[in-house]
């Protein structure tokens, strides 16, 4: 059917599509400039000598160095530990929030998000003050007789982990809470009416239904931690050296952009692998149903 009118209407529809597409243009340009170009530049640098010639040496050196593998291990160790603690602390927290009346929960959520409005540097130094040997935590522990010697809480893996979890927990709780808040309260009531205890409904209904939020929160935390610099730099005392720290050292002590870029590419690949794995997990999850 190709009346003049139908042609007009089709054109209208096309213009409308183009209009809405064009609205996303600024964002797309920004992503292009802000993410793709630097990434491309880093990849290019990683294949160059200081003089600008093509080389594979950056990678050859990187992959043969025990420092790289050590950094890779520490990176994954730190990310996994941060994620693990975020899950253990964050899920009950999100559940408690989701179970309180929305007005109170919103206020509590503000409190939880408050740290995000403070500079990460300020917060990390805050931990430095709290956790050092004559800091509040150790003074309290010693004062109450729980320990006799100050615990080594900073300038090591423990301190780094505390700082990381503090930063990441809100980022985990937010999507988890949102997912739990979205769960139909009647579904939980229905489970109870059929005889499920709170514990049982949590495992069979609440947890599966909030899995989407948990996975996105977990992905944010894990990937964000992979490339994190400030917290390990300040609280790690030089003893925790994930990839981001190695990159900085490669740059600041060797001025070697090629080697640092190669490390950057390594991190990029790691993030891509993790993202792809989690993405796949999400898709599986969506397709998966219990029983049936």
């Amino acid at each position: 059917m190709n009346t003049p009118r139908s042609a007009q209407l089709m054109r209208d529809a096309r213009y409308e599509r183009i209009f809405f597409l064009s609205m996303s243009l600024p964002a797309m340009v920004l992503v292009g400039i802000g993410a793709l170009i630097p990434a491309a530049w880093i990849i290019q640098q990683s294949f160059q000598t200081l003089g600008g010639d093509f080389t594979l040496e950056n990678y050859a050196k990187l992959l043969s160095s025990s420092l790289t593998w050590r950094a890779l291990f520490v990176t994954i160790e730190l990310s996994a530990a941060t994620l693990g603690i975020c899950i253990v602390l964050g899920i009950p927290l999100a559940f408690a929030l989701a179970s309180t009346p929305p007005r109170i929960a919103n206020r509590l959520m503000m409190l939880i998000l408050l740290p995000l409005w403070t500079s990460i540097l300020v917060r990390t130094y805050g931990w430095l003050v709290l956790l050092r040997s004559d800091g509040l935590v150790n003074k309290t522990l010693i004062g109450s007789g729980i320990v006799s010697e100050p615990l080594p809480l900073i300038y090591n893996f423990t301190g780094t982990l505390i700082g990381m979890v503090h930063y990441m927990l809100p980022l985990f709780v937010l999507p988890t809470y949102a997912a739990m808040r979205d769960i139909d309260a009647n579904a939980v009531r229905a489970a109870a009416s059929m005889g499920a205890s709170l514990w049982h409904s949590f495992w069979t209904v609440i947890l599966p239904l909030s899995m989407g939020g948990i996975v996105s929160g977990g992905t944010i935390v894990f990937i964000y931690t992979l490339g994190f610099f400030i917290t390990p730099a300040i609280l790690g005392g030089g003893k925790v050296a994930p990839i981001a720290i190695r990159m900085e050292r490669t740059l600041s002590t060797f001025q070697n952009w090629g080697a640092a870029s190669a490390l950057g590419v390594l991190l990029l690949v790691l993030v891509a692998i993790v993202a792809a794995t989690l993405f796949g997990a999400m898709r599986l999850l969506r397709r998966h149903r219990v029983g049936g």
């Binding site: 579904a187 009531r189 229905a190 109870a192 009416s193 059929m194 005889g195 209904v205 239904l209 029983g291």
Partner: protein, 341 residues
């Protein structure tokens, strides 16, 4: 299947300044189908939630059979509940939803499967077990919810406006099905609705609620024809509430408050003792099965509902013309004085 009586004794629930349940007492017989009917905010859902254990009453007690359940956790009350929004588990298949209460009771897999299939078959969903909840229509979802609520053979069923999300035809069809299911299983059922027609269609008895109190508990026929209060009269259908002396024929003392349903009127006097009302037509409307005439008599407005089958002449009526309508005298309901508020 044995079913149990329910005893609600002086249940009170207050939210701030708002009294949701004002010393409500109610006895439901074993195997009875009782409907809590009322406008929104009347307390009917609060009462249902208190029975289910999701709302803690401030005072009073609840018994199911011999057992005081007032302080019992919801998961120990052995009650099947059907919610307005179905409350199915979207991450499980239809069959897994129905098997859920059986799994909780550690029933063997094969038996659970068999019983769930039987329940699905009872709600006419044979072969739907493998489907996703998302792939079902609203009516099918409500059937799954029904199957899930009956499959573990609870002693009591609570239904919270289960049909209000469905369209009219499906709703009317499901009313009969739910009633039939109840008759087959004999489970004591408390059904909440704000739809008076639904209540009349389905119930053994209806408890009409308003402002946290039960206004009247009776059979549908009693509730409809012999309402105890003006509220019940008006809530149950088109009612004309008038002083006794408003009638041009068969008048009563002005101190009597009387009620006569709009559909009791005829444009010709019926046989036997009659009463009559005369007034001026202000508006008219054709509603398919009847004509609705709005008439002013004195300062009052009254409604006549004339069945389409004997409404010859309604078409020709013009607003402003004077008309008289008659009704059988025994259709007149006189409110008891102390209750006529």
């Amino acid at each position: 299947m044995t079913s149990l009586p329910i005893s609600i004794n002086r249940i009170r629930k207050v939210y701030g300044n708002y009294i949701a349940l004002d010393d409500v007492s109610l006895e439901i017989r074993a195997g009875e189908f009782l409907t809590l009917l009322g406008p929104s905010g009347s307390g009917k859902t609060t009462l249902l939630m208190a029975l289910a254990g999701f709302t803690r009453p401030d005072d009073g007690n609840l018994r199911i059979g011999e057992r005081d359940v007032t302080r019992l956790a919801p998961n120990r009350r052995d009650i099947g509940i059907v919610f307005q929004n179905y409350a199915l588990f979207p991450h499980m298949s239809v069959l897994a939803n129905v098997e859920y209460p059986l799994r909780l009771r550690k029933i063997r897999k094969a038996e659970a499967h068999e019983r769930a299939q039987a329940a699905l078959s009872r709600v006419k969903l044979d072969g739907y077990g493998d489907r996703d909840i998302a792939a079902l229509s609203g009516g099918q979802r409500q059937r799954v919810a029904l199957a899930r609520a009956i499959v573990f053979e609870p002693r009591v069923m609570l239904m919270d406006e289960p049909l209000s999300a469905l369209d009219k035809n499906l709703r009317e069809h499901m009313q009969f099905e739910i009633r039939k299911l109840h008759d087959d299983l004999g489970i004591t059922t408390i059904y909440v609705t704000h739809d008076q027609r639904e209540a009349l269609t389905m119930s053994d008895r209806i408890a009409v609620m308003n402002a946290g109190r039960i206004q009247q508990i009776d059979t549908p026929d009693e509730i409809y024809h012999r309402p105890r209060t003006q509220f019940v009269a008006e809530f149950m259908g088109e009612a004309n509430i008038l002083p006794g002396d408003a009638f041009s024929e068969g008048a009563r003392p002005a101190s009597d408050m009387v009620m006569i349903r709009a559909e009791s009127f005829h444009l010709e006097p019926p046989a036997g003792e009659t009463i009559a009302l005369t007034g001026r037509l202000t508006a008219k409307a054709f509603r398919g099965e009847n004509w609705l005439l709005q008439v002013t008599t004195g300062e009052r407005q009254v409604l006549f509902s004339i069945p389409a089958t004997r409404a010859a002449g309604c078409e020709a009526l013009t607003p402003g013309s004077e008309i008289t309508a008659w009704a059988a005298r025994d259709h007149l309901h006189v409110f008891a004085r102390e209750a006529a508020t």
